[in-house]
């Protein structure tokens, strides 16, 4: 049993122990409060390492190629942002680079450091900052939106010239599945419950309700 407040409506509620694989929703606004994973640390770690490898391929390999009148052109993700930059759209180029490269890479790397740090006991305090950064990167990591964008561009250009999908595009497709899989299998509560407290004096002793404490 532990007490918590809903992040969306602030309602205080006492939750019974949620079994692995189980979920609890807010009684008032329906927001998911707890979603326990069956394997909260090892499975996301395996998926994160896979995502890191796929991320490197997605950024290094060409996304698609174009052939017309005996000429061939191809582009990578960052090459797309760079051509925007060269055409005088520096701000757009920066936004594209952030949402397509920096935020996904940041999310994967910060999550990787969280999952590696969480293997120690107690979980070191720096993991809190890594977890916060991973959360900040998450909404801006738009791999699935980019994938759809690549497909639409491919179909548009196919009207004009012969286009061929590259290895990078398949890697983006794989990354599009891996990132949500990491999010679903990873349970941050697992880390928060074992983390070394920022204020060691306020840390709960055995028998206390671990969810409530006095702030400094």
């Amino acid at each position: 049993m532990h007490t918590l407040a809903c992040p969306d409506c602030d309602l205080l509620q006492v939750l019974p122990e949620v079994p692995p694989g189980g979920r609890a929703r807010c009684a008032r606004c329906d927001r998911t409060l707890v979603s326990r994973s069956t394997d909260p640390l090892d499975r996301p770690l395996a998926l994160t390492i896979a995502a890191l490898l796929v991320l490197i391929i997605a950024n290094a390999a060409p996304l698609m190629g174009l052939s017309a009148v005996g000429r061939h052109a191809s582009t990578t993700i960052i090459g797309g942002a760079y051509s925007m930059w060269l055409d005088g759209q520096q701000i757009t180029a920066a936004i594209v680079a952030f949402c397509a490269v920096i935020a996904p890479a940041g999310f994967v790397l910060f999550t990787l450091s969280v999952l590696l740090g969480a293997r120690r006991d107690p979980v070191p305090a720096w993991v809190a900052d890594m977890l916060r950064w991973a959360e900040h990167m998450r909404p801006w990591s738009m791999v699935e939106v980019m994938m759809l964008g690549i497909l639409v561009a491919l179909i548009k250009i196919a009207e004009l010239a012969k286009v061929t999908p590259g290895i990078g595009m398949y890697a983006v497709g794989a990354l599009m599945l891996l990132i949500p899989a990491i999010i679903v299998s990873f349970d941050p509560d697992e880390v928060w419950q074992r983390i070394q407290w920022a204020d060691p004096e306020a840390a709960p002793r055995a028998g206390d309700d671990p969810a409530t404490a006095a702030s400094r």
Binding site: L4, A5, P7, D8, C9, D10, L11, L12, R28, C29, D30, R31, M64, L66, V69, S74, T75, G80, Y82, S83, M84, D87, Q89, I91, T92, I95, V96, C99, A125, A128, L131, R132, P139, W140, M142, V145, L148, G149, I150, V152, A153, I155, K156, I157, L160, A161, V163, W192, I195, W197, A198, D199, A202, A203, A211, T212, A213, A214, S215, R216
Partner: protein, 210 residues
């Protein structure tokens, strides 16, 4: 609704926005830091209403040039043709791929407009202290938060079209002035959704009960 409804704020508790830990705040004005994860504690997001309004208005201003100015220019043998976002949708429709035209229409035209209207509606109802359909309004907020990123679709389409179609002097594509405004609408509405605090929707009901 049951009579056993109590929020953290009413009981002098603050839930950490990062790790979820409930803390007893020493004083309401200076809540301090979360003892577990070290994040700054705040009962509600700072200046939520004002900040969200400012971002929504800025996004609404950018929405006009985003739709009026061209996002792509296609140069074929010296003559250049410009396309707006709607022009791109029409191109996809006439070239036979109506499902794609529909996806781009929803992601690029309807979602940004819908987000602006939805956030404006949430802000006005919160400012008026409405206690009606709190659940639905919270759901609307979550929808806005979830769907916002998909508007970036057209920016990615334009980026990869520009990067690939560079067959000078035969044919080349350049970005138009509208792209940056369009990207700005998406970024501003995403930050607006992040700065809006959904707990404000429920605070009016709490104030009325006590």
């Amino acid at each position: 609704m049951t009579d056993e409804v109590l929020t953290a704020a009413q009981s002098g508790l603050i839930a950490c926005e990062d790790c979820g830990l409930l803390s007893q705040s020493a004083s309401a004005d200076l809540p301090g830091f979360c003892p577990r994860c070290g994040a700054e504690l705040r009962s509600r997001r700072d200046g939520s209403i004002e900040r969200t309004w400012a971002l929504v208005i800025a996004a609404a201003i950018c929405y006009v040039p985003a739709n009026v100015l061209p996002v792509l220019g296609t140069t074929t043998l010296g003559s250049t043709e410009y396309d707006t976002i709607m022009g791109g949708v029409v191109f996809l429709y006439t070239s036979g791929s109506w499902p794609l035209a529909l996806i781009v229409l929803i992601a690029s035209v309807m979602v940004p407009l819908g987000k602006l209207v939805a956030l404006g509606y949430l802000l006005i109802t919160v400012q008026r202290g409405s206690i009606k359909s709190n659940r639905e309004r919270t759901r609307l907020y979550r929808l806005v938060e979830f769907i916002g990123r998909w508007s970036m679709l057209d920016v990615f389409v334009d980026t990869f079209t520009v990067a690939l179609v560079q067959l000078q002097p035969l044919m080349s594509v350049q970005p138009g002035a509208g792209v940056v405004f369009f990207a700005a609408v998406v970024v501003l509405t995403m930050i607006a959704a992040e700065s809006f605090d959904p707990r404000l929707i429920w605070d009016a009901s709490a104030a009325q009960e006590s």
